[in-house]
């Protein structure tokens, strides 16, 4: 991963980097360490996951909240959150 890629990924992850140089070395070192994953034979390995059926999940039901949550937000007007304009 080079500096340009770091800047590009940071853009995608929505973070302005004041000094990308601060991160380049460390991120590179971490990725270099991750190369150890190339040394293990995983050819016969399947990715397993835990599954839960929909019937096991709690019901998607409305539970009233005793406070007006919107009033605890930083910036709102009536029922709407205020946010900067989109271009």
């Amino acid at each position: 991963m080079n500096e340009d890629e770091i800047i590009r990924v940071a853009e995608l992850m929505k973070i302005d980097l004041e000094d990308h140089g601060e991160h380049v070395g460390r991120v590179k070192k971490m990725l270099e360490y991750f190369d150890i994953l190339d040394q293990i034979d995983l050819s016969s390995e399947e990715i397993t996951s835990q599954e839960k059926s929909l019937t096991e999940l709690r019901k998607d039901e409305f539970i009233p909240h005793d406070k007006k949550l919107i009033e605890s937000l930083k910036n709102f007007r009536e029922h709407y959150v205020r946010a900067p304009k989109m271009n």
């Binding site: 973070i15 991160h23 096991e56 910036n75 271009n87």
Partner: protein, 482 residues
């Protein structure tokens, strides 16, 4: 008043009238006042702790039904929500965030009349191993203030070790309860994945993180687990534990049990000589308790740290996308900013380690790189689960030192990310496989603690506590010098 007491002894003393809940709480708050300027275990204190204690005393004196906790003081890691209180995750981006609801674990504790002392320090968003990545300054190790307390639940561990409470709740994604427990000489449990509700725990890596108790004794850990474990409708990953009583039969011993000594964790180059010696002595202790010990090899372990950081960075990148500073966050004028540029600018408040993890989390699962990193990491996880399940067909427990080294000085390792990552070498296996693991204080060598880790099969916490308690009986540790 002796604050270096266990929860169970405290309850006995309150019941017998040796002291009131208010007296003990007041003494605890005074202790915090006396030592926390140095230790910095707490980020905020519960201003109504004394009132909470008085209410419990009133219940006791009026003969009202009283909860199992009898007002014992407990601290909570500052990534666990309590309604109406600050929950910062030790991050500037949540500097003034007030939680609008209470986590299930805290609800359960409060329903049983525990007194919350305050919220404890951590590495920002629980990403770190020393608390050096807290945006509010590090916590110091009560055993030696020049040394790190471990992390990320370093504030929780230090608060228990320094007698600033009787217990704490931490969260463990890759060792964040067990590592600081080892460094501060307290008991730290990472339960089976799903045993404790994560509702109200601010997410970092949902697929592997768990809340865990940090206590002075193994029995206290079992007592706390009795209260906080079990299914929760608000967390669909929780599992039914059939109301197991973890405290019952805890003294049954481990006669005839089979223990596997994990070769990859006990013969690694990074193991210090003090930790190595302590491990050999612990093995002798287990054998003297009637267990049989033999070496077991889990060949996937050398790849677990890379797999762990790949998976957790990916999940962190997703989880932390919600912090856009629009609905909640810190004060930053939005005038003059376009929507996306405002978000990118505001997210500069993330600290350096969190920023790096988010960048990694954007990179390793991305098109073109996922095959090399993320998908491989998931396969490593699957392979490791198969290996460890096979091991538990033969052994009751797997053991290793909790951390390969003892606590170290501030700044000593912070500049080398790989050295820091490798501190997780012995702990991430329990997270990736979902197995329970406990760190038991075993030795204090040159004034610094060493902890031993015991791992058991899924939902075998009761048996795990029996082994941990048995090992604890073989120790005779000094009091913290603070």
């Amino acid at each position: 008043m002796n604050l270096n007491t266990s929860i169970l002894k405290y309850i006995e003393d309150v019941k017998s009238g040796t002291f009131t809940v208010e007296e003990f709480t007041a003494a605890t708050l005074q202790r915090i006042k006396d030592v926390d300027a140095d230790v910095h275990a707490y980020l905020s204190l519960n201003k109504s702790a004394i009132n909470d204690a008085k209410k419990i005393d009133q219940k006791i004196s009026s003969g009202e039904k009283i909860g199992q906790c009898y007002g014992f003081p407990i601290s909570i890691k500052d990534n666990i929500c309590i309604t109406g209180t600050k929950t910062t995750c030790a991050s500037k981006i949540l500097e003034n965030f007030i939680a609008p609801y209470t986590s299930t674990v805290v609800n359960r504790l409060q329903n049983e009349d525990a007194v919350i002392t305050g919220k404890t320090n951590l590495d920002e968003f629980a990403m770190g191993l020393t608390t050096e990545f807290s945006a509010y300054g590090p916590t110091k190790n009560p055993w030696n203030l020049d040394y790190v307390p471990g992390g990320s639940s370093g504030g929780s561990a230090a608060s228990v070790a320094a007698n600033e409470c009787l217990a704490s709740l931490g969260s463990d994604t890759g060792g964040s309860v067990r590592n600081p427990a080892s460094f501060c000489s307290v008991v730290g449990l990472k339960p089976t994945y799903g045993l404790i509700s994560r509702y109200g725990l601010i997410s970092y890596a949902n697929s592997i993180e768990q809340i865990g108790p940090m206590t002075k004794t193994v029995k206290d850990s079992a007592f706390l687990l009795n209260i906080i474990a079990g299914q929760d409708a608000n967390d669909d990953t929780t599992i039914d534990n059939n109301h197991v009583d973890y405290l019952k039969d805890i003294e049954n011993g481990i006669e005839g049990k089979k223990i596997g000594i994990i070769k990859e964790m006990t013969t690694t180059d990074g193991l210090s000589s003090e930790v190595s010696t302590a491990t050999k002595d612990a093995i002798n202790d287990f054998e003297s308790l009637g267990a049989s010990c033999e070496e077991v090899t889990l060949p996937t372990i050398p790849y677990t740290v890379a797999a762990y950081y790949t998976i957790t960075s990916t999940e962190a990148g997703s989880n932390l996308a919600r912090y856009d500073n629009i609905r909640y966050g810190y004060e930053m004028e939005s005038e003059g900013y376009e929507y996306n540029s405002y978000i990118s600018k505001s997210r500069m408040k993330f600290g350096p380690e969190v920023t790096r993890r988010i960048i990694l989390g954007g990179f390793v699962p991305s098109a073109g790189h996922a095959g090399k990193y993320f998908l491989k990491a998931l396969k490593v996880k699957s392979k490791l689960i198969s290996e460890i399940n096979s091991a538990f067909e033969k052994y009751d427990y797997l053991i290793a030192p909790t951390a390969p080294v003892q606590p170290f000085k501030f700044g000593e390792k912070i500049d080398d990310p790989v050295t820091l990552m490798l501190l997780d070498y012995n702990t991430v296996t329990a997270n990736l496989t979902g197995k329970p693991a406990i760190s038991v204080p075993y030795r204090v060598s040159d004034g610094l603690p060493v902890g031993m880790q015991i791992m058991a099969n899924s939902l075998e916490e009761k048996s795990l506590f029996q082994a941990a308690y048995a090992l604890e009986t073989k120790t005779n540790l000094p009091e913290v010098p603070l």
